[in-house]
Every structure is written in structure tokens, then in C-alpha cells.
Symmetry: C2
Subunit: 149 residues, 2 copies
């Protein structure tokens, strides 16, 4: 798959490790930055990641910050993105089966590398469950007009 | 505080318990539903919750579904909401200190009642850290125009 990965400065180490893991798995990876440990603002990188998932340049996204929370808020501003913050595999599984998540968010300060790899693997391998979930996921793409800026 | 709470059918039991807990703590609680266990779509209740937080009717929101993930995606469509999915207190703490989260999301199928109460308590008691986080939180209120529907 074509996978885009982005983070803030707190998560550049995790980003580098997961980028290598994705390449080992045979995926095509676009690293959207940052490239250094200089302080940045997570919304900037979340919005950049959301835009390449929304326009189809990337089929999936990986969003990383200290907790995964801040960057997930930014990604989920985009109605085309369904970003799931996870810290264990069962949530990663349900994020795909129920929510057809196309972006996974994780916190570099919250989970270790093997847990992160396991969550990412589950996120990539689990199909969407379809059925009753299709209607709900469809509603996530169409928020009320008042919900958008 | 004025706190609104909403869920899907999977989380009506957790919603009832947390509503009572909030009342015990002295908060004013608006239960936005659902009122029965009939199957509903989590985006509908997430959007309803987001709107009352965005317009100030509620100062904080509590969003519940099976995993917390689906309803959090819906709430975060609203640029005025910063919804954090948590399953332990440290993330609840950081969601306030770093992200000034105004909505907490939790999964009724993922965590137990005492963990949920502890996360909610931390979410309500932790102040925003301000400082460098103010600029980042500000950017969450102003997504790029292309990010919105």
C-alpha cells in the first residue's frame, strides 16, 4: 500500500522505526516529516497527512505525536479521514472492522516500539466489516454544515 | 460545570453510570441520548454533542461508544471540539495539559467503570498547561479550508 507517515518532534524516533518497519513489510512509504527534532506544531503535520489521504495520494496514514491525541484531532478535522488513536491491538482491530479507519494515531511517549508495530500490523491487515457499519462510516464523511469551519 | 454526555446503543450502560457519577460530583448534566438500547448511529450522537460544546451550552462533553473511536471521529469534525479517546488516566491528563481537550471519549467495551470514572475525574480536574500549547490548540480551531466538507 501507499502509506504516508507524519509526526511532531516528540515522535520522530518512533516515526523512523515505523517507516523502516513499513518498508520491510513491502509498502511504499512517504515520510511527510518533520526531518529533525526541532520543535514543531502537530496540527501542521496532521493537516498535511490528512490532505494526502483525502486526495488518494496515500491509501493509509500513520500519525504520531507524544500521546497521539493532538495529531489525531487535526487529522479528524478532514471529513475524508477516519483517524483512530490506539495503544493496543484490539482497538486497532475494531478501528478497521467497525470504523474503516484510514489513519492510525499512536503516542511515542505512551507505548513501546513492539506494541506500536503490532498495532500498525493489525491496522494494515484487518478488513472493514461493512454491513451496518457502512451507513455510520458514510455519516462521518458528511458532517452537518455547522460542524465545519 | 455544565457537562453534556452522549453515546451510542453499545454504551448506554456506561453513560448511565457516568451521568450519576457526574451528578454526585456536583456537575449539571445534560444527557443527549440515546434513551434506549435500540441500535443507533454513533455519528448522529457525536454531532449533537459537538454542537452543544461548540455553542457553549455545555462546557465539556463526554462521548461514549463501543471503543470510543467512532464517536470521537464525529466530534472532532467540529473545529471547536478537541475530543480525546482515552483508556487510562495519563492520556486523560495530557489531553487537558497539552491539548485543552473539551470532550473525552471512552469505549464501553474496552474499559471498566472504575477506570472510566478515574479518567473522567482526571479530565475534569486537570487544567490546560497553556504556554507553547496555546498556539497548537489555536491551529486545531483553524483547519485549512480544504480540510472542511
Amino acid at each position: 500500500m501507499r502509506i504516508a507517515i507524519a509526526s511532531d518532534h516528540a515522535a520522530i524516533g518512533l516515526k523512523a522505526e515505523l517507516r523502516e518497519y513499513l518498508i520491510e513489510l513491502g509498502h511504499e512509504v512517504a515520510d511527510l516529516g518533520p526531518a529533525s527534532a526541532d520543535s514543531v506544531d502537530y496540527p501542521d503535520f496532521g493537516y498535511k497527512l490528512a490532505s494526502v489521504v483525502a486526495d488518494g495520494t496515500a491509501e493509509r496514514g500513520v500519525a504520531l505525536c507524544g500521546t497521539g491525541l493532538g495529531i489525531s484531532m487535526a487529522v479528524n478535522r478532514n471529513p475524508a479521514c477516519r483517524c483512530a488513536v490506539v495503544s493496543e491491538q484490539l482497538s486497532a482491530y475494531f478501528s478497521r472492522d467497525h470504523n474503516d479507519a484510514n489513519v492510525i494515531a499512536m503516542g511515542a511517549r505512551m507505548i513501546g516500539i513492539e506494541q506500536a508495530k503490532a498495532c500498525l500490523h493489525t491496522f494494515l491487515e484487518t478488513p472493514f466489516g461493512g454491513d451496518r457499519h457502512v451507513r455510520r462510516v458514510g455519516k462521518l464523511s458528511n458532517p452537518p454544515v455547522s460542524e465545519t469551519a
